[in-house]
């Protein structure tokens, strides 16, 4: 399926969801008992459970994976697998969450579910030591390398301030659905890293971004490629020494998760969860002024859940 078809079906799906919305009674039994009558929400925040359990419950509130993934579609899941560290250090996305996402994509009828990241540390070690390689295999997904420039194809960005060209991984270009799964962490220069910053793992030359106003480049790229769904892993949150972390003392168990179709809203909510004012994070500020999403959470339809 090409992108145009995808947009068409996406619109059709949206209409369907819209009609379903008119008849809340029809949804009972289909969604779990916590399913709200006024779905779909723009953002669901949940806390108090394990990453996979929180995801399933929050996803239900979002309208289920079928809202995003149609039969025989190709899905790409982009977690943060940047570092060669064990899952306990929470520098990478929680592997349990990754396998739960892949499984729900297949349940929704996905043909293939791909997972990759352009890692910072040696990539094979990142994949295996993060626990994500095993998580992907267990869920029958496909783990794809992100370490070779040949996988990345040039794209052009319009109406941006600093970044006008980039090379993007072919899976993002070819897949029908793009699910962004960042882990919420402290970041030395970004202050925090969440959904928008996680997209640095789908491009090739990150050095260019660092050389040319990192925050503006993050906002610029976010205007080009918006994931269909963002799932922020805030289960075990690195509050200092990010993004790699030095020891487990850098972490705090928050047992939270934020799911949103709006990347900017996800970042704003995550910043608040982290304990930082979103307007103090420059790329969020730039993103808000570039209207990448809705930075004002009061204007969004938010569901808050506790397990």
């Amino acid at each position: 399926m090409d992108r145009r078809n995808f947009i068409k079906t996406g619109i059709a799906a949206g209409l369907l969801a819209g009609t379903a919305n008119l008849k809340p009674s029809a949804l009972h039994g289909f969604f779990s008992d916590s399913a709200p009558a006024d779905a779909p929400f723009d953002l669901v925040a949940i806390k108090g459970g394990e990453p996979d359990a929180m995801f399933l419950k929050a996803l239900d509130a979002m309208g289920g994976m079928k809202r995003f993934v149609k039969k025989n579609q190709k899905v790409v899941v982009k977690p943060n697998i940047g570092w060669d560290v064990v899952p306990e250090k929470a520098a990478n996305t929680n592997p349990k969450l990754v396998s739960a996402i892949i499984r729900s994509c297949f349940d929704a009828g996905a043909k293939e579910v791909y997972v990759f990241d352009n890692t910072c540390d040696n990539w094979t070690r990142c994949y295996s030591n993060s626990g994500i390689e095993k998580a992907v295999k267990d869920a029958k997904g496909k783990l794809v390398p992100g370490n070779q420039e040949s996988y990345y194809h040039p794209i052009e960005l319009k109406n941006t301030k600093k970044l006008s060209k980039a090379k993007e991984h072919e899976l993002i270009l070819e897949s029908d659905v793009f699910i962004n799964v960042p882990v919420l962490k402290h970041h030395g220069s970004g202050k925090i890293t969440v959904a928008m910053k996680n997209l640095m793992g789908i491009v090739w030359d990150r050095g260019f971004w660092h050389r040319n106003d990192l925050h503006q480049c993050i906002a610029d790229f976010a205007s080009y490629r918006k994931p269909d769904l963002n799932i922020v892993d805030a289960y075990n949150v690195m509050l200092q020494n990010g993004p790699r972390g030095v020891s487990v003392d850098d972490l705090v168990l928050m047992k939270s998760q934020i799911i949103s179709t709006d990347m900017l809203a996800a970042d704003v909510a995550s910043a608040k969860l982290f304990g930082i004012q979103p307007e103090n994070v420059n790329y969020i500020k730039y993103g808000t002024s570039m209207k990448i999403g809705q930075g004002d959470l009061s204007k969004l339809n938010i569901k808050r859940l506790v397990i």
Binding site: C120, Q148, V246
Partner: protein, 521 residues
Amino acid sequence: MSFKLVKFARVLISLLFLIGISALFLDIKGYFYPSVSKSVLFFQFTPSLIDFILTLSFSAVGFLIVLILTFLFGRVYCSFLCPLGTFQDLFIFVKNKISRKKKYSYSKPFNKTRYFFLSFTLLFLLFNSFFFILLLDPYSAFGRIANNLFRPLIIFANNIVSSTLSGFDIYSVYPYDYKGFNPLTFGLALLTLLIVGFMSFKWGRLWCNSVCPVGTLLGLLSKFSLFRYSIRTEDCKNCGLCEWSCKANCIDSKDMTIDMSRCVGCFNCMTVCSSGGVVLRSYFGKEIRGYKPRKINASKRKFLSELFAFSASAVSLGFFQKIPLITKDSTIPENRKVPVAPPGALSINRFNMSCTGCNLCVAACPTQVLQPAFLEYGIMNMFQPRMDYIRSFCNFDCTICTDICPTGALQPLSLEKKKLLQLGVAKLIKDNCIVFTQETECGACSEHCPTKAVNMVPYKKIAAPEIKEEYCIGCGACEKACPTKPFKAIYVLGNYTHKTAVKNLSKPKQPVMKETDDFPF
């Protein structure tokens, strides 16, 4: 004939060692490291000898076994165990298939040449230089050929398969992101291959008998070996087949002598002789017809003493050697006065005097940060690996290089120790750094730092890197990540002697949100 069986065993064993050692160097997936390598390389003479001297460990007695075998049967190392020897046999095998000229004939030993190389190797060692070992040790020379020439071919083939399959949506064969191409060490390895290949194609095992210091040393010992190959005059039919078959050119069929100092123990002569005229005979046996002890040659002695004087003066004057020195911090961009030696090297000086430059660690390094040096340690220490932080950086959770080193030049380290081992110290050049020159955020260095020795601290309205040297382990992650061009704004200055860093114990953070709290939005 039972000798046919022995020859068969020789071919089999030598091929097994050649394949096993090659596999260590060509293994791009990291299947074999590091458990297998020590046993595969157990018998390699030079690495084992050095390892034994450095560690006095029982696990490094492979060279002793080789010496015992030499005292028993002559230079069996050269035909059974040496990868470069077997590699030359492959050339000889191909030559015999395609060339019409298959006969070898006896030649006199090139004594001046072979004793020149042996004595220079030993003399340089005496004066703390590994120069000749680095150039001539047969295992290490083969290792460099395998690592610099054959490994790229395997990687190329792997990547073709990988990219073809990815076109069909199959991603199970991972591509290998090759960072190792280094024209200089590639060129030198190619030169070694061409010389060794050409010599073996043309003259059989001439390299082993005129250049290789290990061959010459074992040849000297072979003169006193217990069992020796000799021609039994009463059975010899003077057909000359043994001489023609001798790739070491050491059989004189007219005089019916076999020069044990050059015989590589291949058993070819014994299998071609139809009359059983070439035999293995005990040193104490009655008939030792094939062997005449040489007279001591006065001119050779003079030659050797002259060599000694020359090399002693050359080396002691430091004529060739560029010794890296500790320098004061400098503001000159990337003032790399001290190269960074790999983990386990202890100090650059010790490392330069114990590494044979086989490049096994270079092949095994998962991040490819280990690269053969060209002039970084000085011209006398080419091929010895160094940390190349322009290409890559040292993985925090990894000790593979120290686990596999066959010479003990890289001493084994526990992972905990390695994580605090300071190979060098990161230096910041503010005038190069984006944060200071452009006043925009960057922080790539701090992002990659595994110990947060490079930390981002408030600077104007943004964050700027600050180095706490006591935490720095010199892994080069900051340097690799630093995006400035052409000079890095942060780079690692090697420690002449490796040190121990201080463990970074940050205070645990207090949670901002209690479990009972509502969402802050």
